[in-house]
Each structure stands twice: as C-alpha cells, then as structure tokens.
Amino acid sequence: MTKLLELTENFIMSRPVFCLQLDTSGRNIKANTSHPKHIYRPKPISGDPLSELVCENYREHFDTKDGHFQIDKGEIAHKAMEQIRGSIAEFLEKNLEMRNPRQSKLYRWAYRNMPNGSEINDVLVMVYKYLRSFSNSDMKANDLNHVNNGIAILEAIMEKYEQ
C-alpha cells in the first residue's frame, strides 16, 4: 500500500465554510457539511489508474469540536486497496475463458483466500496497475495476449502464497 499512501500525501481538505439554510417551518437550520462553500476534491493524475482509485476514495469529515475537516489517509489507502482486491477478482470473472469463471480455483483464491499483508498488497497494487493498462475501469480487457499474461502472473502469485 506504500504507493497508495504516497498518492494521498498531497491531499488537503475543504475549507470549513458553510452556507446555512433555514427550512420553511423556521424550525431547523441546515449546514450541509458534505457541500462546504469552498469544496476540495483531489484531481487524479491523468491516465494513472492508481491515482484515480485513491481520489475516488477520498473522504473528509467535519469535526464539529475542532471546527475543521479531517481526513484519514490510511483509511483512504485501505479503501483503495480493498477496491484493488475486488477488481482483481472482477478481472478474473470477466476475462477467464470459462463457462463459469467463479468455479475456477484462481477466482476463488482471489475472491476469498487472497492473503492480506503489506508485502502482497504492494505486489497487488502493481498487478492492478498492469491489469488496468489493458482493461477499462470495469476490468473488461481489450487485449487477449495481455489477459493471458495477467492470469499467469496471478496464478504464479497464488502458487507462491499457497505454499
């Protein structure tokens, strides 16, 4: 996840300035904290799927006591990592040339038994980056040679971690 954490490094937060609204009954004042007046949303680096993923998972929350927005960079990286793991299983489901890819050993490993740890996560981040180089955001690949290569890499990883 090191790469993902690096991508969160330059994230800042929205300014804590809100437009207040009174409802028609005159009984409630709303301050929509999810839409501050000067909203900040990180812009992904063009063509970088990892940056897109990390930016997609950007979440800030307003701390009423401290009066400013806060982000948990670790949490953002963690959410992005979860998405990567899910996307790998999705890649297999969409691109394995089988009648029912979910029955395959590789898919079941990717879906259920893929170990969790900093070492494998760093590897999976790079695998995801490679898979996205020939797949769209729904993980549907457009180059069969690359698909076979990607599957072979995943099989090798599975064998290594199963031993």
């Binding site: 300014r15 300035v17 004042i29 400013h68």
Partner: protein
C-alpha cells in the same frame, strides 16, 4: 400559617384571585428570555457542540437560550414541546455563511424570536399533571404491599371502583392512569399550578412503589385542600 393554607394564592393580586390563571414555571422562563436572541458564531458553536453535526434545531436553540437566561431551569420534553410553539428561528440576509476559519457568521443574522410572552392558558391546562402521570407508566407496582397502597390511593382519588375490585396489577395501574387523566382534564381538584399538578402522579408513584410516607402525606394534604373548593396554587409540603 396553617398546614392547609395556600400561601401563593393569598399573595396573588385581586385580579389574579378573581381570574385564577394557571401558574407555571414556563411563564417565568418565557418572561426571562428576551424578545430577540441573536445567534452569533460562539452561540452557534456552543449549540452544535452539544449535538451531532452542524445542523441546528429550534429545540436546541431554545435549550441554549434558556440555559443562558434562566440557568438551572430543567425543561422536560412536554414543556419543550409547548415552548417550541412560542419561538421561531429567523434569518435576515440573502446568504448566511458560517465560517469556522474566521469564527464568524456573515452575510446576515440568525435570531431566535419569541412569539408569545406567556404560555397559552389552554396549553397549560392540557399539561396539568401529565409528567406525574408519565411517572406512573415507568413505575413497578410489584413490591410487597404495593397493591394495598394502590387501593388506598384509589379510594382517595374516588371513581376507581373497577380498580378496587381487581387484583391485577396491570388493571389497577390502567384504572389509576385513566382516573388521573380525567381528574386533570376536568381539573376536578382545581389545581392551578403545573408544577404542583405534576407532583401528584410522582407522589402516588413514590408511595405505591416504595411506601414513601412523606409522598403520601403530601398527597393527603392536597386532597384535604380540595375540600375548600378553592383554586390551589401551592401547599406546604412534607420533606
């Protein structure tokens, strides 16, 4: 001063004695809160600090105003429901901005505006005794001697024949509850003070559940005072 004298009634001016308005702590509270309470940044921050998020309800602003202008006045849910009808929140300005960076509210003003300086008599009438009756709902009547004590209370309240006949705790509670509702709805005892009326149910609950004799003594005193057929504003309570 005699045990059954009503000091508060005696101290009322002649017009109040003639019209017999219902007295309530809520009128005192209403009187102390100014007609307009401006809500600046610090006030807004204080209000949201006691809740979740930045949204503010009329209820929380009233709670803030009461704490500021009449500290130490606990407000029950029923009272708050009634008070909410006496206030409204107002915005002056096109776009009111809450700025935590500069700790300001800009672009206009937020105010809490008081609509009435006294509570409506009908509202106070409907609130008579309600909190005491609510106390009965949460009480446990299962202790030793509780059913006997319930019968004693029902005899003093009168018109509880169904409750006296049954041995069911649930049924007795239901009869007692219903009787108190009717008693206060028609204000049969002519109690003219909401706090005093609320104590009736509490005294009954304390006596039935714990056998609290002070509570029973107060209840009996009040009952005796009703024989004069005069409005009751206060009574000398046993501690």
């Amino acid at each position: 001063m005699g045990v059954f004298d009503d000091k508060k009634f005696e101290e009322l001016d002649w017009i109040s004695q003639a019209t017999e308005p219902i007295d309530s702590q809520m009128n005192e509270i209403l009187g102390k809160v100014p007609e307009i309470v401006p809500i600046d940044f610090n006030a807004y921050k204080k209000i949201v600090d006691s809740g979740y998020g930045l949204d503010v309800s009329l209820n929380s602003v009233i709670t803030f105003a009461i704490a500021k202008f009449t500290p130490g006045s606990p407000i029950s849910r029923n009272q708050m429901n009634a008070l909410e009808k006496c206030f409204v929140l107002e915005f002056a300005g096109d776009e009111i901005i809450l700025d935590f960076e500069n700790e300001t509210i800009s672009g206009g003003e937020i105010t809490l505006v008081k609509l009435n300086s006294t509570m409506d008599e009908k509202v106070l009438e409907s609130m008579l005794g309600s909190e005491g009756i609510d106390a009965l709902n949460y009480a446990r009547f299962g202790g030793s001697g509780a059913l006997v004590r319930t019968n004693e209370v029902m005899e003093l309240l009168g018109k509880c024949e169904d409750g006296l006949k049954t041995r069911s705790e649930q049924r007795k509670r239901s009869v007692l509850h219903k009787r108190l509702r009717i008693l206060f709805k028609n204000n049969e005892w002519k109690i003219k003070d909401t706090e005093l009326a609320n104590k009736v149910g509490v005294w009954i609950t304390e006596y039935i559940t714990d056998g609290n004799l002070s509570a029973f003594s107060n209840f009996c005193r009040l009952k005796v005072m009703t024989h004069k057929d005069q409005p009751i504003y206060s009574m000398k309570e046993v501690e």
